[in-house]
């Protein structure tokens, strides 16, 4: 166990896993309570488009994927606000556009990109120093916005009209949440993989929702589950030599079903 921690790539993966576990489950409570699970999936696929563009351009894919995904998040919000279409319809449109672009970008690259698989399924080995700094910066933003925005987002989640009647800038706050969510999805790509990021956002928060009596407890519980299952899943994926993202999601799912049983026992 200790020797695992002495491996530099494993140290990087663990730090990234803890940060991503914290970020995804923290924003996940708003995603779950606002019934935006599909938005998580949509943003992850937008990140695929961005990463493919980065690979095509031959630059660091994440630096392209961050602005690309943020733009898609803003576009989803904008279309939803302008057209009166249901939120999941706007997500569905951009989801498809981003994946289609990603496929075209990878095709245009015209060479085998092994990297692409690391992005699709996540890989401990893929986490590099620069990724850590980016992830740490995003986690810093989450901590910096928590004292002001947690209460505002939660209030608007509970009842938009009450929050608006109390003069909270609900629409502007929503844009900020979308942008932070988009950035979180992108930095989670290397650890979790594009395909499973939505689960990362949803499962810890849903588990906490089963057991928490208050929204504060739900938030703290989700973060604890997110961080704990990331560490456990990464270590397990190293020993079993299987993809890290999938292993973490399986650990989360195990915690979720344990939570369901605990709730049945309690009720």
């Amino acid at each position: 166990m200790l020797e695992v921690l002495s491996l530099p790539f494993m140290q990087r993966a663990l730090v990234a896993g803890v940060l991503v576990g914290f970020l995804a489950s923290y924003y996940g409570v708003f995603v779950v309570q606002r019934q935006l699970s599909f938005l998580g999936a949509g943003l992850a696929h937008a990140a695929f488009g961005g990463i493919a563009l980065g690979l095509l351009l031959g630059t660091e894919p994440l630096w392209v994927a961050v602005p690309f995904t943020v733009l898609v998040a803003l576009a989803i919000n904008w279309v939803r606000g302008r057209t009166g279409l249901a939120g999941d319809t706007a997500v569905g449109i951009f989801f498809a556009v981003a994946v289609a672009l990603g496929v075209v970008f990878l095709f245009l690259k015209r060479e085998y990109t092994a990297d692409a698989f690391a992005y699709l399924f996540g890989s401990i080995l893929a986490v590099r120093g620069a990724d850590l700094w980016l992830t740490a910066a995003v986690a810093g933003m989450a901590l910096a916005t928590w004292p002001t925005y947690w209460g505002r987002w939660a209030y608007a989640t509970f009842d938009r009209d009450l929050a608006r009647a109390d003069r909270l800038p609900v629409e502007r706050d929503d844009y900020l949440l979308s942008v932070l969510l988009a950035v979180t999805v992108v930095v989670a790509v290397k650890v979790v993989g594009i395909i499973l990021i939505a689960a990362f956002l949803v499962i810890p928060a849903a588990t906490a929702r089963l057991l928490a009596p208050t929204f504060r407890a739900m938030t703290l519980g989700a973060v604890a589950i997110g961080v704990g299952s990331a560490v456990a899943g990464l270590v397990a994926s190293y020993w079993l030599d299987v993809p890290s993202g999938a292993t973490i999601v399986l650990v989360q799912a195990a915690v979720f079903f344990a939570g369901m049983l605990a709730r049945r026992g309690r009720a």
């Binding site: 947690w150 209030y155 009209d161 929204f215």
Partner: protein
């Protein structure tokens, strides 16, 4: 259409010199091409208890939303305590929404909902002083025993009291209630009106209540606004709620008679 709004204010003893609590002038609200409310004009003095009546789709909730600043008037003016809505402090307004708007999946206790009235955002851990304030006002509405109860486990009448406590905890100057009797039995509704009257006797607060309940309009209100998309009548109950005006608002007089017996119009 504007009916005897001046007469009320110019009666002997009426407070013509003090600033009106609510002043509405030719208010028109549109949602796209749909005109929800048109040509509404009235004034009520501080301490008034105004009920707003009319069939479904008459613009009753829209009027409340305009007063809360949730919808922007297409035409006309709306002033609360002499100021345009945007310039009033949200702390002066207590909004008691329809209980059917509650998201019952949101993990929260009654006390936290009351605290949103103080903090104007979702509360994390309450400070001892805030807690005391919230418990005191919950006690005043006869709901102290509900403080730690999950919101999802409250009956309609209990929830209504908690929402009312949420409004009263900020010591408002104006209380806006949207169909508070809907989903509550007759005894519960009567208790609610008694609470409002007692609170009004203790504090010089103005009340505006959207309702389908003719009884409360007749027996508790100082003023009645009858809407049917446009303003049908405004004045003291006996003058505003004549058979002719009710027929004009509700179409068939049978509906009005049903309401006088305590029924609800299906218009």
């Amino acid at each position: 259409m504007v009916f005897d709004s001046k007469k009320t204010l110019e009666q002997p003893g009426a407070t013509t010199l003090t600033m009106p609590a609510v002043e509405v002038e030719n208010l028109t609200v549109r949602f796209g091409a749909y005109q929800a409310l048109a040509g509404v004009s009235f004034q009520i003095p501080p301490g008034a208890f105004m009920t707003v009546l009319g069939p479904n789709g008459a613009g009753k909730s829209t009027l409340l939303k305009a007063m809360l600043g949730l919808v922007r008037p297409a035409e006309g003016h709306l002033r609360l305590f002499g100021k345009p809505v945007g310039a009033t402090s949200p702390a002066d307004l207590a909004y008691v929404p329809q209980i059917k708007t509650l998201d019952r999946t949101f993990p929260a206790r009654s006390l936290e909902l009351v605290l949103t009235g103080l903090r104007r955002r979702w509360p994390g851990r309450p400070a001892a002083e805030e807690r005391e304030q919230a418990l005191e006002v919950l006690g005043r509405v006869g709901a102290a025993h509900l403080a730690e109860r999950p919101l999802g486990c409250l009956s309609g009448g209990e929830l209504q009291r908690v929402y009312l406590a949420r409004g009263l905890v900020r010591h408002p100057r104006l209380i806006l209630l949207d169909e508070p009797a809907t989903g509550i039995d007759v005894v519960g509704a009567a208790n609610l009106y008694d609470l409002l009257n007692a609170y009004q006797a203790a504090f010089d607060v103005t009340i505006i209540m959207v309702t389908h309940d003719m009884e409360v309009a007749f027996h508790h209100a100082t003023d009645v606004l009858l809407l049917g998309g446009v303003q049908v009548s405004f004045g003291p109950p006996r003058e505003a709620l004549t058979d002719a005006r009710l027929r004009q608002a509700f179409g068939h007089i049978g509906h009005a008679h049903a309401m006088l017996r305590g029924g609800v119009p299906d218009a």
